[in-house]
């Protein structure tokens, strides 16, 4: 079930500027694929399409004579739906670059297809650190965050501030266990101790039983190695059972501001998490948010949306420099060669393994009394500098790097 929502094609190429550029069928077609109807619809969804559109406008494609078209589709978090959409897009609809794609299973499948067809894949929504590890390709760039960065950010920053005993509540599937494994490694490396873990079935509804076990362990930090509605339910039920009142803190290993919004500050207060971007961090972000929110039902942009904006901007710069959108490998190589610079993420680089480098931030959810209104949810606990935020290049196991 593909949902192809064709949005208006932007700007028409007139003679002058376009004469020197050779774009496949004259257009640069950007395909934004993500979850438009399921658990991740709010943190990516139509918002990513809005972000991409804003990136194209801010880049001034029209002025430069570049014809850019944006299409969107829903992959419903299923790898087979995602693969089908991407295949059709690349074979039939002449899409040149695929953007966003949350849900790691889909992203991994898409990465393979994009490599086979030599186009470009800019991942913003998915988290699997394998995308810049064993599964890295010369056509994929992993933009916003990954599980290693989250584990490292949340894990080490919390241990360093006193949270040195951990208990994991893990979703019993590949992603959840990977999160647990990565975070546990970071915790022990920084001198903390993992007191135990419990694997809950995925997807779950009632976590009371597992939370009770977490409570009994008396660990200072309960790490939630799950995502989406599992995280929301865990936090909600933890509040019900008075877990935080007993002195334990919850650490969400993969959470977005939209999750906090769904929970409400009353329930989510004190939750600790790592994100790559927050709308209220600086003026440039706030400026972007003022333009973005009205176009997306008032929902404030998440780091995924910001990542899409940043990635599309850099892509367009590379395509402009090469004057072509045909060869995916060449474009990605160009994107790695040029340093990145955009209003949202500032200056940064793209590494050889396809990893975009920028600082990560550790946030704590405010108490209701500390918040001035809707979406004012985070206070900054720590900034992880870009040199430490992501997995070192040598440790990834990416075939492109090993020489």
């Amino acid at each position: 079930m593909k949902r192809l929502i064709s949005l208006s094609a932007l700007a028409v190429a007139f003679g002058c500027g376009a004469a020197h550029a050779q774009y496949t069928d004259g257009t640069i077609k950007i395909g934004v694929m993500n979850d438009m109807s399921g658990t991740y619809a709010d943190l990516s969804g139509q918002g990513s399409v809005v972000a991409a559109r804003m990136a194209v406008e801010d880049f001034g494609a029209a002025r430069k004579g570049m014809k850019v078209e944006i299409v969107g589709a829903d992959h419903q978090n299923k790898p087979d739906v995602g693969s089908n959409v991407v295949r059709t897009w690349l074979d039939v609809d002449k899409v040149d670059v695929i953007v966003d794609v949350p849900t790691s299973s889909v992203a991994l499948a898409v990465s393979e297809i994009v490599r086979d067809k030599n186009k470009v894949f800019l991942v913003s929504g998915a988290g699997a650190s394998d995308l810049t590890g064993p599964q890295c390709t010369a056509n994929t760039i992993h933009w916003t965050y990954d599980t290693w960065a989250l584990a490292n950010g949340t894990g080490s920053a919390i241990v360093k501030t006193g949270g040195d005993t951990w208990f994991f509540l893990t979703a019993n599937y590949a992603f959840g266990m990977a999160l647990e494994r990565d975070t546990a490694a970071v915790v022990t490396k920084n001198g903390g101790k993992v007191l135990g873990q419990v694997r809950h079935p995925f997807p779950g509804t009632d976590f009371s039983s597992f939370l009770l076990q977490a409570q009994a362990s008396k660990a200072k930090i309960i790490g939630l190695a799950n995502a989406g509605s599992d995280t929301i339910n865990s936090v909600k039920q933890a509040a019900e059972f008075g877990i935080t009142r007993g002195g334990q803190n919850l650490a969400a290993l993969l959470a977005f501001i939209t999750d906090v919004h769904a929970l409400g500050l009353q329930t989510a207060q004190g939750l600790i998490m790592t994100e790559a971007w927050y709308w209220d961090l600086n003026d440039a972000n706030r400026e972007f948010t003022k333009r973005f929110a009205p176009q997306y039902k008032g929902i404030h942009p998440t780091m995924v949306h910001a990542g899409v904006y940043s990635a599309v901007t850099h892509y367009l710069k590379a395509v402009e420099a090469l004057k072509s959108d045909a060869d995916g490998k060449a474009i990605v190589a160009k994107m790695k060669e040029m340093p990145t610079d955009d209003p949202l993420f500032g200056k940064g680089t793209v590494r050889a393994d396809g990893r975009k480098i920028h600082p990560m931030y550790l946030f704590e959810v405010k108490k209701p009394s500390e918040s001035k209104g809707a979406w004012d949810y985070y206070k900054l606990r720590a900034t992880i500098p870009e040199s430490e935020a992501f997995r070192p290049l040598a440790e990834g196991g990416c075939p492109l790097v090993r020489s």
């Binding site: 658990t39 809950h200 079935p201 779950g204 009632d206 009371s208 009994a216 409400g264």
Partner: protein
């Protein structure tokens, strides 16, 4: 405190209590299904969607009418029950002469429509609903901290289950219902309005689902899919209990909650599947279910 298989009795009792709470939901939901199937021979696949509707109506009542949890407990089942009656009058009554499987397919289609519409308007993340102030907080029982709301869930479910069982098995109204299922023509000849009884019974079963939905709203994430995965577990419960048996549904619901609770302690990864394993085992030994009558 003593230890059982390496788990302290404290933890064990806590888990069993939680299992009992979950069992209450299973019992309440399977009660509605069992009533509908026992009386009408219809498998109501829409049950999960109606459970979801109950929770959403509770949220709407709060958002748009300022009516809290206690009002919702009363109004939501009535509202959703009314939609049930409409469904029965509009769709289901054409299917009674046909194979029962068509009823299953129809209610499956209705479930898809309901969930699709709600997903369209409300997305999938879910909406918040908090525990009513009078039931917040909890008691420290020594071996665990029991939220008041969860204790209320057990008590209330048990009451509703026993009341329903009593009405159906021990009162005159119930006996009319049971007779009407076995031999509608004869009962009609006695002057009893059988079609109306059937409609009201379906409405009642649906109302039970909505009631479970209202009770779930404060503790489980309210989203359009909340009923979809739960409904299959409830089917398993009803099959184990014996498809027409009210008592079977209640006992099995609570029992399975306990078994699931135990599994979460000793073998948490399997807690999703244990119910189906039990179902397979029971079916091999007693094909009609624990309390069922062999047809």
């Amino acid at each position: 405190m003593f230890e059982v298989f390496g788990v302290s009795s404290q933890v064990l009792f806590g888990q069993l209590l939680i299992g009992l709470i979950n069992g209450s939901f299973y019992a309440l939901l399977s009660l509605g299904l069992a009533v509908i199937f026992g009386m009408l021979n219809i498998i109501n696949f829409t049950h999960g969607a109606q459970y979801m509707l109950g929770a959403f109506v509770a949220i709407f009542l709060l958002q748009y009418a300022g009516l809290g949890y206690w009002w919702a407990l009363l109004i939501a089942p009535l509202v959703v029950g009314a939609t049930g009656i409409i469904i029965e009058r509009l769709f289901l009554r054409w299917l009674y002469q046909l194979d029962h499987l068509y009823g299953l397919l129809l209610t499956f289609g209705l479930a898809l429509i309901t969930e699709g519409v709600f997903r369209n308007y409300f997305g999938s993340s879910g909406l918040p609903y908090s525990v009513p102030p009078s039931l917040q907080g909890g008691q420290n029982l020594g071996f665990m901290f029991l939220p008041n709301y969860r204790a209320w869930v057990i008590v209330f479910s048990l009451t509703i289950c026993l009341a329903t069982w009593f009405v159906i098995e021990r009162t005159k109204l119930g006996s009319y219902l049971r007779a009407a299922t076995e031999n509608p023509t004869l009962v009609r000849a006695f002057g009893i309005n059988v079609p109306r009884m059937i409609t009201l019974t379906y409405g009642f079963g649906v109302a039970l689902a909505a009631l479970a939905g209202v009770m779930a709203a404060p503790i489980y994430n309210v989203s359009p899919q909340m009923g979809a995965n739960l409904i299959i577990v409830v089917f398993a419960v009803v099959v184990i209990g014996g498809m027409g048996s009210i008592l079977g549904a209640i006992v099995t619901g609570f029992g399975l909650g306990l078994i699931e609770g135990l599994t979460k302690v000793f073998f948490p990864e399997a807690s999703n599947t244990v119910i189906f394993v039990v179902m397979a085992v029971v079916l091999l030994i007693r094909p009609a279910g624990l309390f069922g009558r062999s047809t």
